[in-house]
């Protein structure tokens, strides 16, 4: 039987490899704004979900077809660890993070080199490094999404702290301790409400049997499918799930006066110290903060663009309508050790 099937397998293999489309074709020479030729390889480490970063890379690639963009995507903090390890032997040109604190911590360690991209002055100061070693790309909110078929409007939690309500036992999904957004939320909460309250909140989640997934895509799909009533996610995961036709809703938590406000964060990009293709790295950062790049993030991913003048996706609630938590960047970074201690002690999966 197998002698007969083997050629079929081989043929299938060949067919699928043949039609898969190979690496980029060398095209006419590509120039950057200053008229320099961009070629060679651009190595990008990205802590973001691949689906959210590939479109902007594809658009950049189209602009500079002679450049070969090599993407290594993985867990944000794992890549940060890798960059620290590679400090004396740098491999990457650009790092894209899912949150600001990693960028700040790595910048302190001297991993990045400063660069002010085109249009730098049009980006808000709150999302720029003091020494221009990293730059914010998009902003996002920590929200709670819910399945409209399972929860009625009047039962909705209004605060992060409601998630430890025993009423919701077993009904919540969230991303686990390896997820940078989750790590960042814990660190931010330490600064906002103190260590004790944050720890109580975390143990409350564990006692409430929250299911922790590896990624937010899992969380949003599970809530969309009705496996869970509620999910703790970044706001755009709600919109991505909504776009797939699920019956889901969004809660902006802690909005009442006196409450801590919504925890927001930003994705960032930085050029690695020792980058071997500096002109390409710079052109890439330029592109990421340009109107064209920002539009891709805003339209495709439902993120809040940081460049003034780029329109929000019409479905998004503008930031001025929200009460945002007051987060002190440098302070939060100092809370990272405490965060990991807390994760260890609580045994957060």
């Amino acid at each position: 039987m197998f002698q007969k099937l083997l050629p079929v397998f081989v043929a299938l293999t060949l067919i699928s490899s043949g039609c898969a489309g190979t690496t980029s074709q060398p095209d006419p020479i590509s120039f950057n704004e200053n008229g320099n030729i961009l070629s060679g390889k651009l190595i990008v480490y990205s802590g973001r979900s691949e689906l959210l970063i590939q479109p902007v890379i594809a658009a950049f690639q189209e602009k500079y077809p002679q450049l070969e963009v090599l993407l290594k995507s993985g867990s944000n903090s794992q890549l940060a660890n890798t960059l620290l390890e590679e400090k004396t032997n740098p491999q990457a040109d650009v790092f894209i993070t899912t949150e600001v604190f990693t960028a700040h911590a790595l910048s302190r360690e001297g991993i990045f080199q400063p660069y002010e991209p085109t249009g730098y002055q049009n980006l808000p100061d709150a999302f720029k490094a003091d020494d221009a070693s990293w730059v914010g790309l998009t902003q996002r909110m920590r929200v709670i999404m819910y399945n409209k078929d399972l929860v009625s409007q009047d039962e909705l939690p209004a605060s992060m702290f409601d998630l430890s309500d025993p009423k919701l036992k077993g009904q919540i999904a969230a991303a686990g301790s390896t997820n940078a957004s989750m790590q960042a939320q814990i660190a931010s909460m330490i600064q906002l409400v103190g260590q004790e309250q944050t720890e109580a909140w975390l143990t409350g989640l564990l006692e409430n049997e929250v299911t922790f997934f590896g990624s937010h895509s899992d969380v949003r799909k599970a809530v969309g499918a009705g496996e869970f009533e509620l999910g703790l996610v970044n706001h755009y995961y709600y919109y991505l799930q909504l776009a797939e036709g699920s019956h889901v809703g969004i809660i902006y938590p802690d909005q009442a006066p006196g409450e801590m406000g919504i925890i927001s964060n930003a994705t960032t990009a930085a050029i690695i110290q020792g980058s071997s293709n500096l002109s390409a790295a710079r052109a890439f950062i330029d592109f990421l903060v340009s109107a064209e790049g920002q539009k891709i993030f805003a339209e495709g991913n439902y993120e809040y663009p940081l460049l003034t003048g780029v329109a929000l996706h019409p479905d998004l609630v503008p930031t001025d309508g929200l009460s945002l938590a007051k987060i002190e960047l440098a302070q939060v970074v100092d809370h990272f050790d405490a965060t990991f201690d807390m994760i260890d002690m609580a045994n957060l999966p």
Partner: protein, 544 residues
């Protein structure tokens, strides 16, 4: 006679100078154990406070989780593997020749791909199975939770049992009918004969198989991570994504290696005893047991096992793949950076191929040394070179990252580091095949060649190599197959732009993009079937 031979070889060893091959073999053994030693040193050098915190918070839970999974899966694979082998070798169940093949095929499916399918089917509410049941208005039955301990144990059992199936099948095949007949003549019932004659005869083979399965489970990452059951391997990954410090990961790795070394030691000890099932000249195959009316139950058991471990996963992968290829948007989604599917296939094949070649090349000095100069030192070298069995992929990766970056920075972030990890991890398989190939060769041939004025290298190339080549090919097919499916070390060590099929399957399915993941998974399985077919053809149970 045995004793005089031992004495003679003893005397020869004392007088003879150290053979040159010993140095080569020593280098290989050293290369194989450096990563282990490095991690153990890093673990021991860990901060006492950190050790204390790990012991207090994680260690007990990790140890009990890991051991529970290892024991359950080993017991489950043994039970399933032996009963499948018994049905296909000893009974007249219909279709058993085809079932022998079908039962071995799950070896081409890495357990993490099995876990992806399992999860997609069984997720409560969101799962395909529950959607389908809703679709045909079936009263919703409560489906078991696909994640956690039982989910992981189930997936690992149905994708690891073929190891035990093949080994026990070979043992059933080689058992001499006369033992069975003697037992029956002495008044034993068939059931007593099975327990008192058959089981003791096949036990050594099965024990060795079971211990290898348990080493596999210790190092399994993908399945336990996906099904959210925390073991050492997945906990080390979690540590790597945490604070900016590798000490905790090193400590956990050190403990994991110690655990694995204990099992490996047990496996070494059973290995020597695994040889008393031999096919002598008086061998006759045992007579088949007529199941009579029970035949249909035997058939159903075989069919159900094949259904769950091969037909359903392949069917679903095929369905997703067609969906993915038909949908243009998904298809363009298969591009990562500027690299596409063709590059993933190419990377998978060349790195596994190179690893297979190097592993076999390095195994040759060990094999020659241990077979031609038996003794304590050569046996030690042979065993040291097999320590890779006990180093999980994530630990190999962790130690290579630190070692290479420190001592061979120019190799860092090249695909060669990935190949190095495969070699360290899978060279034991090559060493075992090469050793057994060398053992079948009479030393007289080499002596004759040397008398004819050929030097050692010429003798090896002109005399030994052609004769041991089939054995070497077996070794390389094994290493190729294992490297192709390897996940954790590849994930951690791959340079940017270097993606293998296994990595792509993992990243896509972790995000829930099954349509993208399926074609890559299917290709991985199809490519695996080629070396697997070559290996299976050499198995005793497929020879008529």
């Amino acid at each position: 006679m045995l004793r005089t031979e031992a004495l003679r070889s003893n005397r020869r060893r004392q007088n003879a100078p150290i053979p040159k091959i010993a140095f080569l073999a020593g280098w290989v053994a050293l290369l194989a154990i450096i990563p282990v030693i490095y991690i153990l040193i890093r673990a021991l050098a860990g901060d006492t406070e950190l050790w204390q915190r790990i012991i207090q918070t994680r260690l007990i839970k990790l140890l009990s989780n890991t051991m529970l999974l290892v024991l359950t899966v080993t017991a489950g694979t043994t039970l399933l593997g032996v009963s499948m082998a018994w049905l296909t070798e000893r009974t007249d169940v219909p279709g058993r020749k085809i079932f022998r093949w079908l039962l071995a095929l799950p070896l081409a499916i890495p357990p993490y791909i099995g876990a992806i399918v399992h999860l997609a089917l069984l997720r409560p509410r969101g799962g395909l199975l529950s959607q389908w049941m809703e679709g045909i208005n079936l009263p919703s039955i409560h489906l078991p939770n696909p994640t956690g301990f039982w989910g992981a144990a189930f997936v690992l059992i149905i994708f690891s049992f073929p190891y035990v199936f093949l080994l026990s099948g070979a043992a059933f095949r080689s058992e001499n009918a006369s033992y069975y007949e003697s037992a029956r003549m002495l008044g034993r019932t068939p059931w007593q004969t099975f327990w008192q004659v058959t089981i003791p005869a096949i036990r050594p083979g099965i024990t060795a198989g079971a211990l290898l399965v348990s080493l596999d489970i210790l190092s399994e990452y993908g399945t336990v991570a996906l099904l959210r059951f925390e073991t050492f391997s997945s906990a080390i990954f979690v540590q790597l994504a945490g604070r900016y410090d590798r000490s905790a990961a090193s400590i956990l790795s050190g403990v994991l290696i110690l655990l694995a070394l204990i099992i490996l030691y047990g496996e070494f000890r059973t290995q020597g005893r695994a040889q008393f099932t031999q096919i002598g000249s008086h061998w006759r195959p045992a007579t088949l047991i007529h199941l009579g009316k029970q035949r249909k139950w035997g058939f159903l058991a075989l069919f159900f096992t094949v259904l769950v471990s091969f037909i359903i996963p392949m069917g679903l992968l095929l369905f997703w793949s067609t969906q993915g290829i038909l949908d243009n948007q998904t298809f363009t989604g298969m591009q990562i950076g500027s690299r596409g599917l063709a590059s993933f296939i190419f990377n998978s094949v060349w790195s596994s191929g190179l690893a297979a070649f190097l592993a076999v090349l390095f195994s040759i000095p060990i094999a020659i040394y241990v077979v031609r100069h038996p003794g304590k030192v050569s046996r030690l070298f042979s065993r040291l070179s097999q320590v890779g069995y006990a180093i999980p992929g994530v630990v190999v990766a962790l130690s290579l990252v630190m070692l290479v970056n420190r001592f061979l920075p120019f190799l860092y972030a090249t695909p060669l580091v990935v190949v190095m990890a495969y070699v360290v991890r899978y060279i034991p398989q090559a060493v075992r095949s090469s050793e057994s190939a060398m053992r079948q060769l009479s030393p007289n041939l080499e002596e004759a060649s040397r008398l004819l004025k050929r030097n050692a290298i010429q003798t090896f190339i002109q005399v030994n190599l052609p004769l041991i080549l089939p054995g070497l090919l077996t070794g390389s097919a094994l290493v190729f197959l294992s490297s192709l499916k390897e996940l954790p070390a590849t994930l951690l060590l791959r340079p940017a732009g270097y993606e293998t099929l296994a990595v792509r399957v993992w990243i896509w399915s972790e995000e829930g993009f099954y349509f993208q993941a399926a074609p890559a998974a299917l290709l991985l399985v199809f490519i695996s079937i080629i070396p697997l077919y070559f290996l299976l053809r050499r198995e005793a149970i497929f020879k008529q």
